[in-house]
């Protein structure tokens, strides 16, 4: 089992240190403000279905961009202006998984969502957010498969 990417482990420790739900929410809102939509030279609407996060009601998309060192940089589009949790997760994962070893990205479990947001998520919200992690891990697996 691959270790967590360093940056992700660090971010999870930071989030885990929050004292209560409100502090965690505030931290996640701060992350959501760091969200930046995908640059137009990487992707522009209408976005292809292959980049769409499954089951995400915020209409979120993930775009992997290959780096020279074989890793991926992840970009995002969250089409729902009120999809603040999706934006927060995009900002966190974009920072933590871009440039990380592909084996590690491929092994990130969708359950990381619960470490970030806690368990108090609706089923629909859980499906969307875990779907974002699963899609990113899937892109890493595809990239690894291309290298083989």
């Amino acid at each position: 089992m691959a270790a967590l990417p360093n940056k992700l482990a660090k971010l999870l420790r930071l989030i885990g240190r929050t004292q209560d739900r409100q502090e965690r929410i505030q931290l996640l809102i701060d992350f959501s403000r760091r969200y930046r939509p995908v640059p137009p030279d990487v992707a522009s609407p209408p976005y292809a279905e292959q980049f769409k996060v499954p089951a995400c009601e915020s209409q979120a998309y993930v775009f992997p961009e290959p780096n020279d060192d074989g890793t991926l940089t992840f970009h995002f589009a969250v089409e729902n202006p009120q999809g603040i949790s999706a934006m927060a997760l995009a900002a966190i994962l974009g920072d933590a998984l871009s440039g990380a070893p592909l084996e590690q990205v491929a092994a990130v479990s969708p359950d990381v969502v619960y470490e970030i947001f806690g368990r108090e998520l609706s089923m629909g919200k859980s499906m969307g957010l875990t779907g974002m992690v699963a899609l990113m891990a899937g892109f890493a697996r595809s990239r690894l498969a291309q290298e083989d």
């Binding site: 999809g83 089923m123 629909g124």
Partner: protein
């Protein structure tokens, strides 16, 4: 969109406009309640004076898959400073999907001084109206609730089965992919929380969002709603109707539409919904 009073609704008083809410922000007889699916949204900014009612923390039973009971509801109402005379106005994200869910739960305890803000949070934001991160506190109010009444607007699986056997109408408000069971078989999709895909036999598929105008999230005119639910689906106003979705949240939106906007007297929400039905042993399923 036309004035709510002119839209032909059966109970127009249950719906209020953003203008109306803006004019009542400081009205002590009104408590504005934000209810969202997104757990970060309220804290990121909300209507001045609005309190948050969170589905998972505030409306669920702490242990069982059920809603809070009378004591819990009284505690909630004290926390948000609502008396039996307070009119509660709900609004939220997803064009009031969660707001109508909270509204429905409040009706289980008979708090009928309740309204929904047409267009929900997105309309308020798009109109450039004020938002604040200040969380208000209100003096704890004395509130005596009756026992929760699960007989009027809520329905359980055995009653649903009897309903199916009697060939009575159901409305499945999920997406066409969920209705067909297709989604469960797409490998990239997480499980819908059910072992089987499909729908309850006899159900008509009317995705909940068809009841709202996509451009601003307001409810469609009564005539447009009748065209969907009565002309297209064939429901009659005096039908005994059950609405369901995955866990009963989206279907509370359709319950609201049928009950309050179209005036159907007998509509019940099956909150067990597909996460229960699709896991039950030996119940009929259609695909």
């Amino acid at each position: 969109m036309s004035d709510i009073a002119d839209r032909g609704y059966a109970n127009p008083e249950v719906l209020v406009s953003t203008d109306w809410v803006a004019a009542h922000l400081d009205d002590p007889a009104i408590r504005i309640v934000e209810s969202n699916e997104d757990p970060l949204l309220y804290s990121s900014g909300h209507m001045p004076g609005a309190v948050e009612v969170d589905w998972t923390r505030d409306l669920n039973h702490p242990l069982r898959r059920d809603y809070l009971e009378r004591d819990g509801f009284e505690t909630l109402m004290r926390r948000i400073g609502v008396t039996s005379d307070t009119t509660v106005v709900f609004y939220g994200d997803k064009t009031n999907w969660w707001a109508t869910y909270a509204f429905w739960v409040f009706q289980l305890f008979g708090h009928d001084r309740a309204k929904v803000m047409d267009g929900g949070r997105l309309k308020w934001e798009r109109e450039g109206r004020p938002l604040t991160t200040d969380v208000p506190t209100y003096p704890a109010a004395a509130y005596r609730a009756p026992d929760r009444d699960d007989t009027r607007i809520r329905v359980f699986r055995d009653e649903v089965l009897a309903h199916v056997r009697a060939n009575l109408p159901l409305v499945d408000v999920r997406s066409p992919e969920e209705f067909s069971g297709e989604r469960l078989h797409m490998p990239a999709y997480p499980n819908e929380g059910a072992l089987r895909g499909g729908h309850i036999p006899g159900a008509a598929n009317v995705p909940w969002a068809r009841a709202v105008n996509a451009e601003d999230g307001t409810f469609k005119l009564a005539a447009q709603l009748r065209a969907i639910y009565q002309d297209e689906v064939g429901l009659r106003r005096d039908d005994d109707v059950i609405a369901y979705c995955r866990i009963g949240e989206r279907s509370s939106h359709t319950w609201f539409v049928l009950t309050h906007l179209l005036g159907f007297p007998r509509v019940r929400n099956y909150d067990g919904s597909w996460t229960e039905w699709g896991n039950l042993v030996n119940v009929p399923i259609e695909k």
